[in-house]
């Protein structure tokens, strides 16, 4: 009799142990879900970039993603066919509610409004970027107003 009770308790204890693990896994799963929902709710304000080739030709590009790379490599988001541009020259990233420009240790450097940058730098509308001999001018969409770093409401 005592043996059967103990057996039942042993099975219950095993259930409780796996209950602990099950809950831990469930919570972790929910955390991933929540995180993905938060990130998908964060909208990136669109950015328009006008590329000015050395010859004077210009072209306009519009992006709505959070990371844009500039370089001679055709895989870059803005491929620049110019000898003075490195393969992966610079990239523009959106985080902390700002667009940031960062030089990817390019040979000829990246200039923001004629000043050479060495650290990630915030950019705004109207800024002029120079990668080698190619110029890029930035205009940000004003119409999207969001609060990107807001915490999700505690549930």
């Amino acid at each position: 009799m005592s043996g059967s009770i103990a057996l039942a308790l042993r099975l219950l204890a095993a259930l409780a142990l796996y209950g602990f693990l099950g809950w831990a896994l469930t919570f972790m799963y929910r955390e991933v879900r929540r995180q993905s929902v938060v990130l998908s709710n964060r909208r990136v304000p669109g950015i328009s970039i006008m590329v000015k080739q050395a010859g004077g030709a210009t072209s306009m590009r519009y992006f709505s993603q959070a990371e844009i790379t500039v370089g001679r490599d055709p895989g870059c988001d803005i491929p620049l066919l110019d000898e003075t541009v490195s393969a992966r020259h610079a990239h523009l990233t959106y985080h902390h509610g700002q667009w940031w420009l960062e030089d990817l240790t390019s040979t000829n450097g990246t200039k923001l409004n004629d000043l050479r940058i060495t650290t990630p730098t915030v950019i705004t509308s109207g800024d002029e970027i120079r990668c080698g001999s190619i110029g890029l001018s930035i205009s940000l969409s004003e119409n999207v107003v969001i609060e990107p770093t807001q915490r999700i409401k505690k549930t």
Partner: protein, 806 residues
């Protein structure tokens, strides 16, 4: 949300630990199978302390670290509570001490949360901490002691409190390496800045190994350093290089350093030396095997059989009582801590904290893997503690320091982690730990399920002898149901009692130290209840008690009243007597003198084993004597007056079964096949089978001593015959030979002779009923270890008269 997750997980831990405590409380009742026992209650104090302290720590965490990782603390809490109960179950004193240490750890933990949330002071005073730690460790080289009195002297002690400095030294090393490497980003291999910590770590490890013989801590230092270098540099060749270096060190250590040699040999071939160097690991594996799938239940197994079960082998102790189900859960919880720790490291706000978290994870992971792997023979044994679980104040404090560091680092308000230059080491580290623990899980399943049946029947498994104390063993009774061997006492203290000690060489004994012999050994499966009971009943008992069901009584063909007569006749002479039913082969009397008293085996066993007269030997079925002229009437019946050639005589002896051990249910021996007929030795039992031909019309019976088993539900079930009787002589020739062997008008035939080979002398005296005997045909063989025809014949005639007049 964080607080809710943490609180829910803590509730599950509390439910789990409470259920374990209830099991521990009622465990004495399960062991002794009665409700009238002393229940175990003291551990509830420990559980209560655990509950209060955990609640306080939970409150402090919600208050001071609102954004911490919510999984780390509950995982640590359930592990330390589980460890505390496991220790309490093994030893109440150590359990209470562990509860005290848990209390001290939690209070310091809460104070640290209150005052030491900013970890930068660690970075600023890193050399102070490191040299403090080194200084104390150096002190143990000089003043070190071991609380147990034996073994490596790794503790500093005073006034009953012992402290192991190498435990916190691991954390201090992690802090030092984290801040040293964080100050030197993009470190290059083979550069000067790396030389200082490399030299320091290797010399420290060597010092620990050579002076203190602490293999575990030394290897943990090397592993932690390697992981740090790998994370800081991102170069995989570091891992390959260290692997190579460790292999080399292992090889050198194998030949040069005694402790490494012992451990490696014990790891590779544990079965060669199961009582010496491999004693610990073999006992640990037996505990794992005994746990099986769901374990024996807390308090119901026998984990205290494993040496140092409270610290180094706590994992084996837990495996025995919670089984594969429990150990896999335990490994999964450790894995949760490591995984959340690595996530914490990746989310850390700066490189110092990132390295610190990764180092803490490396320390916890490596140490857990080393000791779990060592317990289950996946890795060579290294005597380190299982973090959070093992007994020990230093170990528990260090584990909680590690937990504190991880929790503080995980408390990030700003969710923008510092950028990472090379993320690969983190995924490699996670994969390494995942693989390591998966290997542990598979090895556990291998020992506890696949290999368990083999392991548990090993003679060095003390659980069989323990089960015998709690489960009643079947009785041995004679043909009239007179008891011969019985089990007396109550559950928990059952002992075997032998009511007729003169039968000892035949009945044998079952003893926790000397093992089993005689019929107690050959009929063990029935007496232990493993045969003859329904298999569902055996399985059920195994599941709820971890023991076989109550044993079954076995009836022997021995007739105690005749046996008593024979023993009296034989007296103090050395020799053997067999009285056989010539038709059925049932052994009515079997005597072997000198004899011994199996009730006094505990005191006299060692002496009996050395005794030159070999009282433990069953002379009747295992004693081999020169055949001499013992079977002359049979030879005359087969060959007439011609003397047979060596070749034809050997064929005849083979027919009579002299060259092979008789097929029967007791231990028997025979001479080697192919021995010259002149040189042949036979046992009295073999002679009695052959002589049966004269009283049974030329037919040899198959001897047997166990006739029936009492299965309870179906009553006495008779054992089937082992083999068909065999015709060796024509009936007329046999009858004629019997009648012509009648001496002096006796109502039975008789024959006697002497066999001699070198120093070995035996006097054979045979007798048997005549063909016209109305009762069961009987055959008697008397073998005396001396040359004395008169005495042998006198004993034979006295017995025969007694038997035939009954």
């Amino acid at each position: 949300m964080n607080d809710q997750t943490q609180s829910r997980l803590l509730q599950w831990s509390a439910v789990f630990l409470t259920l374990q405590s209830i099991i521990l409380t009622i465990s004495p009742a399960v062991r002794e199978r009665t409700w009238d026992v002393d229940y175990r209650l003291s551990h509830w104090i420990g559980l209560l302390a655990w509950g209060v302290l955990t609640f306080l720590a939970h409150r402090a965490l919600t208050r001071y670290l609102p954004e911490r990782d919510p999984y780390l603390f509950p995982a640590a809490a359930i592990l330390s509570g589980w460890g505390m109960l496991a220790i309490w179950r093994l030893d109440e004193n150590f359990g209470a001490r562990q509860a005290l240490w848990f209390g001290i750890s939690i209070i310091l933990f809460i104070l640290a949360l209150r005052y030491l949330k900013n970890l930068l002071f660690l970075k600023n005073y890193k050399y102070l901490f490191l040299f403090g730690g080194l200084l104390i460790t150096t002190l143990t080289l000089v003043f070190g002691t071991n609380p147990l009195g034996l073994g490596p002297r790794l503790w500093l002690g005073c006034c009953g409190v012992y402290f192991q400095p190498s435990e916190p030294l691991k954390i201090l090393l992690v802090i030092y390496l984290a801040s040293y490497l964080a100050d030197r980003a993009n470190i290059r291999l083979l550069s000067f800045p790396l030389l200082i910590p490399t030299l320091m770590v290797t010399s420290l490890a060597l010092l620990l190994l050579v002076v203190q013989r602490d293999l575990g801590t030394a290897s943990i230092f090397v592993f932690i350093f390697t992981i740090f270098l790998f994370i800081a540099s991102g170069k995989r060749r570091i891992l390959i290089g260290t692997g190579f270096f460790l292999l080399l060190a292992l090889l050198i250590g194998y030949f040069q350093i005694a402790i490494i040699h012992t451990r490696v040999v014990g790891w590779l071939n544990p079965w060669d030396d199961p009582t010496g160097n491999s004693y610990q690991i073999v006992q640990s594996l037996l505990a794992v095997a005994s746990g099986g799938t769901i374990g024996r239940g807390l308090g119901i197994g026998s984990p205290s059989l494993v040496p140092v079960a409270i610290s180094d082998f706590i994992f084996a102790a837990i495996a025995e009582e919670t089984g594969l189900v429990g150990t896999l859960g335990l490994i999964a919880i450790i894995w949760v801590i490591l995984a959340r720790g690595l996530i914490t490291s990746l989310r850390a706000a700066d490189i110092f904290r990132r390295y610190l978290a990764a180092g803490v994870v490396a320390y916890l992971g490596i140490q857990s893997l080393l000791i779990i792997g060592g317990n289950i023979r996946l890795l060579p044994l290294t005597g380190v503690t299982l973090p959070f679980v093992s007994y020990g104040g230093s170990s528990l404090l260090t584990s909680f320091t590690a937990l504190f560091l991880l929790l503080v680092i995980s408390n990030i308000e700003d969710d923008e982690p510092s950028p990472i230059s090379n993320p690969r080491p983190y995924s490699v580290l996670a994969a390494m730990f995942a693989l390591g623990f998966a290997a542990c899980g598979l090895t556990l399943a291998w020992w506890s399920i696949y290999r368990a049946p083999d392991l548990l029947t090993r003679t060095d498994n003390p659980r069989r002898a323990i089960a015998d104390r709690y489960v009643s063993r079947g009785e041995l009774v004679d043909k009239n149901n007179q008891p011969i061997s019985i089990t007396t006492g109550e559950s928990g203290s059952y002992i075997r009692e032998y009511l007729y000690p003169d039968l000892a060489p035949i009945i044998g004994y079952t003893h926790p130290v000397f093992g089993q012999a005689g019929l107690e050994a050959s009929l063990d499966e029935y007496l232990r209840g493993l045969q003859g009971n329904p298999s569902s009943m055996i399985l059920w008992n195994q599941m709820i008690y971890g023991t076989p069901p109550p044993g079954l009584d076995v009836r022997l063909s021995i007739d105690l009243s005749l046996q008593r007569e024979v023993d009296q006749q034989l007296g103090s002479r050395h020799g053997a007597v067999v009285l056989l039913n010539a038709e059925t082969g049932e052994v009515l009397v079997m005597a072997s003198h000198p004899t011994f008293d199996p009730n006094k085996l505990s005191e006299e066993g060692e002496f009996l084993l050395q005794d030159k007269d070999s009282p433990l030997l069953n002379r009747a079925s295992q004693g081999l004597y020169p055949i001499g002229s013992a079977v002359l009437p049979l030879i005359a019946a087969q060959f007439g007056n011609e003397s047979p050639t060596e070749q034809s005589l050997r064929v005849f002896y083979e027919e009579l079964g002299f060259y092979q051990a008789p097929l029967t249910d007791m231990p028997v021996t025979s001479d080697k096949p192919g021995v010259n007929t002149e040189m042949l030795r036979v046992s009295p039992l073999q002679i009695s089978i052959a002589a049966s031909a004269l009283s049974n019309g030329g037919i040899l019976p198959t001897p047997r001593i166990a006739t029936a088993v009492n299965t309870g539900e179906q009553g006495w079930v008779v054992f089937p015959a082992l083999e068909q009787p065999k015709l060796v002589l024509q009936a007329e020739a046999a009858n004629e030979a019997a009648i012509s062997s009648v001496e002096d008008g006796n109502p039975y035939w008789g024959h006697s002779g002497v066999g001699q080979l070198g120093d070995s002398v035996v006097t054979w005296a045979l007798a048997g009923t005549l063909p016209d005997w109305q009762g069961a045909p009987l055959v008697l063989v008397v073998a005396l270890e001396e040359n004395d025809l008169n005495t042998a014949e006198r004993i034979r005639n006295a017995i025969m008269n007694e038997v035939l007049n009954q």
